[in-house]
Amino acid sequence: MSHSTMPVSDQAFAIRASAPAGKNPALGRLLLAVASITFLIVLALQSLDAFGLISIGFQSWRPLLYAYLAWSAALGASQILIRGEAGERAAFVLPAVLFTVAMVIFPTVFGLYIAFTDWNLSAVEGRRFNGLDNLRTLVADAYFWNALLNMVYYVLAVLVQYAIAFGLALLLNAEIKARKFFRVAFLLPLMLSPVAVSWMIGKSLMEYRFGPAATLARYLGWDNPAFFSTPWLARLSIMAMDAWVSIPFMMVLLLAGLQALPQEIKEAAKVDGATGWQSFKEITFPLMLPVSMTALILRIIFELKLADIVINVTAGGPGGATDTVSSFIFREYRDRSNVGYGTMLAEVYLVIIIVFVGLILKWTSRWMQRTN
């Protein structure tokens, strides 16, 4: 880490013959050494204390946190002292890198360890290594595979959201009055918290007895408008709520894409009398492909995290029909305190997501190259 970021030739900043060198390399190295040794000593003492080999009486691992912060500051300062301007450049990315490494890499590795234990918070004994047992349970867990299948449906629903969002973006891009009003009105659902939406729509608007949506459905001739009774109905209701919140996100991206299209192309098409549908199919849509892909990929990535609405409206019911992987793991922890198994589920899901998103990105870039 100590030589984390080494700037190489920069044309932009090459206007000076040589960047200022470090003012005091010796002091910098000393500072870094002292900070590193202090950090290691604190780590050793805390570990020994935690394993009961010596007793210093640490209340928590907080001292290690402070030691890490001090080490990070010393690392930044020493970089500037040793390497001068090169160190100053490194100091721009160092805070974010150190923060992310501490907050992601460490917990993920620690999570991998938890995943291979039988840790249950309600059990009397602590966590015990149990090898591949969690993985075996997972393979046999019908509820997990069911939740994974649901994720396929939810991701496919993103395509419908995309179609609606594109339509709305085209509407907003037309020559209309009160555009500002409609833009703000269409954007508002995106701002609302999924938890509030769960109540506003799922628990009151779609409520069986008095909800306006149910009343409307009865008026239209549907005798028994129970939106969360059968598996597919419940799934569609969740999809509708999710779409309500997230369509504006894609709409905003697509609208920006439409507005960035070269004006003369649209005018040329209009002057030469192409019908609306033709000019959309042959000109607008192909030109919008890059933006569309960005919007779709971002939405799919967010969709894979879908949880809040499901947790608060159906809690996965009926019979797991609306469960997402996230909401399933949430209940595995909340209701059964099964930390070890839940973490294993999460890690497996992470691997699946990484492979899936990686494939999408690869496939998209190849496809975009071919069409251009």
Partner: protein, 320 residues
């Protein structure tokens, strides 16, 4: 330039092919066709505006209803039901109870300010370290082991696909050891991690649009690179930072998953309070509606008045 000409030729070829035989009779119907078209457009616009706004309207009006208004499905205040402060009274925020002690209101205000501190703190931290990193990645070439700028950027952005469930339980265990469980500091750190990729994405796009000549002039005048950044670049990039901050604020304000797992009594945020109330059955809708209204009101206001910045933040980097 060449590509543009090609594009124009392409458009022309499509348009010419599509035009087909001349239809002179069409000109007589230009006005009616135009009118039906715009009528359809406005009908669609109004329809979707209704879909977008009705749930919000429903929630706000329900907070002024009594039980009988709810069960009979009354919709328009003053016209088919008389507004009542019942929902707000149960929150301790109606005109007659607002100056009296109320435990519900105290609870609500505590949750509200927890949300404010957690989301503002995390957004601020993310914008500060995210902007620094984005500036570095936009201006300098780094090399660390095999990682170049592209790889470092990808390292930050890839955090976006990390689902909260993966981190939630390790954080639970680690925070317990660090005594950060149920504390706002712990929540701020998690939220910062959550929005950092988005902030870096937005700010990189922002810095890429600022011409290098400004910094070069500052460097020639004897500024250090940090001096040039703080004095020259930062003021220009301020609108982008505001956009990133507001977007982060919204995301953190609405966050439920981590808050539900990592907080219990002290640091509980507003979404957790709203969620814990929804479990209660029966027609206690007016108080639920009042809580929901109070929880979404700040965001609706932000949406109405700062829409420009939200759109700017959302579209940064996505549209080239």
């Amino acid at each position: 330039m060449d590509a543009e000409n090609k594009l124009r030729a392409y458009v022309m070829s499509i348009v010419d092919g599509a035009k087909g035989p001349e239809t002179p009779a069409r000109q007589g119907f230009v006005l009616p066709a135009f009118m039906t078209r715009s009528l359809l457009i406005y009908a669609a616009l109004v329809f979707w505006a209704f879909i977008s706004l009705f749930p919000i309207y429903w929630t706000v009006t329900t907070s002024f209803k009594t039980a009988v208004n709810v069960t009979q499905g009354h919709l328009v205040p003053f016209w088919d039901f008389a507004p009542d402060w019942k929902g707000w009274r149960s929150l301790g925020l109606s005109p007659d109870t607002v100056f009296q002690p109320s435990t519900v209101r105290d609870e609500f205000i505590r949750r509200f300010f927890n949300s404010v501190i957690a989301s503002a703190g995390a957004s601020l931290l993310a914008v500060v370290i995210g902007s620094l990193a984005a500036y570095g990645l936009s201006r300098f070439s780094y090399k660390f082991l095999w990682m170049r700028n592209k790889d470092i950027s990808f390292f930050f952005l890839s955090q976006l696909i990390l689902p909260p469930v993966v981190l939630a339980m390790p954080f639970l265990a680690l925070y317990k050891q660090l005594m950060l469980l149920d504390s706002l500091v712990g929540l701020i750190l998690v939220y910062t991690l959550m929005v950092l990729p988005i902030v870096i994405w937005i700010m990189r796009d922002q810095f890429d649009t600022i011409p290098l000549e400004l910094e070069q002039a500052a460097l020639v005048d004897g500024c250090s690179i940090w001096g040039a950044f703080l004095r020259i670049v930062l003021p220009i990039a301020l609108p982008g930072m505001v956009a990133a901050f507001i977007l982060s604020l919204i995301l953190c304000w609405n966050e439920y998953f981590f808050a539900a797992l990592l907080t219990s009594t002290d640091a509980k945020t507003l979404p957790v309070m709203v969620a814990s109330q929804t479990g209660s059955q029966g027609i206690n809708w007016w108080s639920m509606a009042a809580i929901a209204t109070a929880a979404i009101l700040p965001l609706v206001l932000i949406g109405i008045f700062l829409e420009r910045y939200i759109v700017k933040g959302l579209t940064a980097g996505a549209v080239k």
